[in-house]
Symmetry: C2
Subunit: 314 residues, 2 copies
């Protein structure tokens, strides 16, 4: 299948492994790229020098294209952008910020730029800013989440109707059937996060990977909407947040409870009680930890099965 | 396409027109059934004698199968169930209550019973109760909504994995492409609500139909979670609820603000400021008011197009 997305990134399958804080270092990204999908390093949880090391390691580990996901709210954003260019990164996914700020600068330096959005309005703004493609991420996605709570099922076709550049769907996609469904709804490709957390090459702590495997429907929720809405597993920390909500807390009180470093504590260090465990609703469909190559093979196989199972006609 | 759902209801297309308060009387249900999908009368907004009249009118208006949707929390539930049997209704969709209470009673009287759920757990309970099929309704759906906030994209495959009886997907479906996507995810058929609100035969007020046509992504939200979570358009009443939330209101205060009759006031009487306007996220994809027969024709046509657009292979 050659399509807009495979051509844009020069990959075999129109699948992007999402850049995720504390989960997607060079090991995951290079494994994804070596499996002929697009691997992304998640810069959001890396100091600049750590990111540089991951990029250098990734270049050594794969000769296939890979990219870096950069949240634009990153405090050292100028230093980060400089490193991307110095290290010859040619694909950048930006999120959580205004696409106008960096798109032209990156494109002037030969970088393919993709921006992540959660609404039609932001999709149009990103297209106007000149990005090469858009990731439309639905409410079911793990981690930071849009305020409109629009789900993949409705977001994909609504964005597709309004933009002309390639569209990558994210949120709720972990299997070949869901990849096909996203493409039926109008996506040219898919970005997959949660499924790759439960991979051998993810840098997530084993405790967290196992919790993802055990999670079922209803085990995640979007909370902390007064700060940045985030979907996480309903663990002890989540319940403490809900207790605080009963007291009509100020934004500052929520910020104090959240503190700093909880995402690392939970996902990277494996503290399942006190950590912030960001994962998508689709965790309920994930029952094993597999190598990335096997995950990709299975998705492609399931995609073909789902295609062949489509009823012939009315 | 003959499948489990077309056979269960003896209809041509595996599509159910959702039973919706203040929108789906005998005119809508009979138009749907005459278009060879399953029409449902929504009993939730009808006094018992009004419901009886709608059933009698529906029988006169179509010779095709139709059904009635009954919220099990209905205050006069025993009288309602008696009327369904007296009037020879053979298909009943139950929602908002325990499927154990009425399923056996209805099935003993020859009725096909379907129960609406929003989670895997409730799907399993409904299957155990002996229902003939399940409607799995995602977070994007209009009106009353599940507490887990699980979206169609993840709910459909998760429910499909666990149940053996036929599965109808609901929430976010308004086009042939979304019908195909739901079936790719594991559904045997689809229940469509929002699209049929904006039909000529819906009993919704013209003001409300026009508001649905004008609505875009981000214009609905789920609120009033302390009472029953409900997805509605963000109108003046919705904003008043959000203002009240800032004061950390009691459940009683929310109930007082909601009052009685707001759904009728908004959807049936057309007061777009003070009414409760229940609609699904997919309203952003609906741009016209059409006759039901045209809606069904278009969905089937779009379904075929979406099927033919599927990429051939990798």
């Amino acid at each position: 299948m050659q399509n807009k997305i495979t051509k844009l990134f020069n990959i075999k399958y129109p699948i992007i492994q999402a850049g995720m804080v504390w989960n997607s270092g060079w090991k995951l990204a290079s494994a994804a790229s070596n499996s002929e999908v697009l691997g992304l390093i998640g810069a959001g949880s890396m100091y600049p020098d750590v990111l540089r090391q991951h990029i250098q390691n990734c270049k050594k580990a794969t000769s296939n294209p890979f990219g870096v996901n950069v949240p634009l709210m990153y405090p050292n954003i100028e230093e980060i952008m400089g490193i991307l260019i110095e290290e010859g990164v040619t694909i950048v996914f930006t999120s959580a910020g205004n696409p106008k700020t960096w798109t032209t600068w990156l494109k002037d330096r030969g970088v393919t730029v993709v921006h992540v959005v959660s609404s039609v309005k932001f999709a149009l703004k990103a297209q106007e800013a000149g990005v090469d493609a858009i990731v439309a991420e639905g409410f079911e996605a793990g981690g930071h989440n849009g305020r409109d709570e629009t789900t993949s099922f409705t977001l994909i076709p609504m964005v597709k109707d309004k933009i002309t550049i390639p569209l990558i769907a994210a949120g709720g996609i972990a299997t070949g059937a869901s990849m096909l469904a996203a493409m039926v709804l109008g996506a040219d490709g898919v970005q997959i996060g949660t499924r790759f957390v439960a991979s051998e090459e993810s840098s997530a702590h084993d405790n967290f990977k196992q919790m993802v495997v055990n999670a079922q429907d209803g085990d995640t929720q979007v909370t902390l909407k007064e700060l940045t809405p985030v979907r996480l597993i309903k663990n002890k920390f989540y319940l403490a947040v809900q207790e605080l909500y009963k007291q009509n807390p100020t934004v500052e009180a929520l910020q104090t409870l959240l503190g700093r470093g909880r995402a690392k504590l939970g996902m990277f260090e494996g503290d399942l009680d006190e950590g912030e465990l960001e994962i998508g609703q689709v965790c309920g469909l994930i029952h094993d930890i597999k190598p990335v190559s096997k995950i990709v093979d299975d998705i492609i196989h399931e995609f073909e099965i789902a295609k062949n199972n489509i009823p012939n006609t009315f």
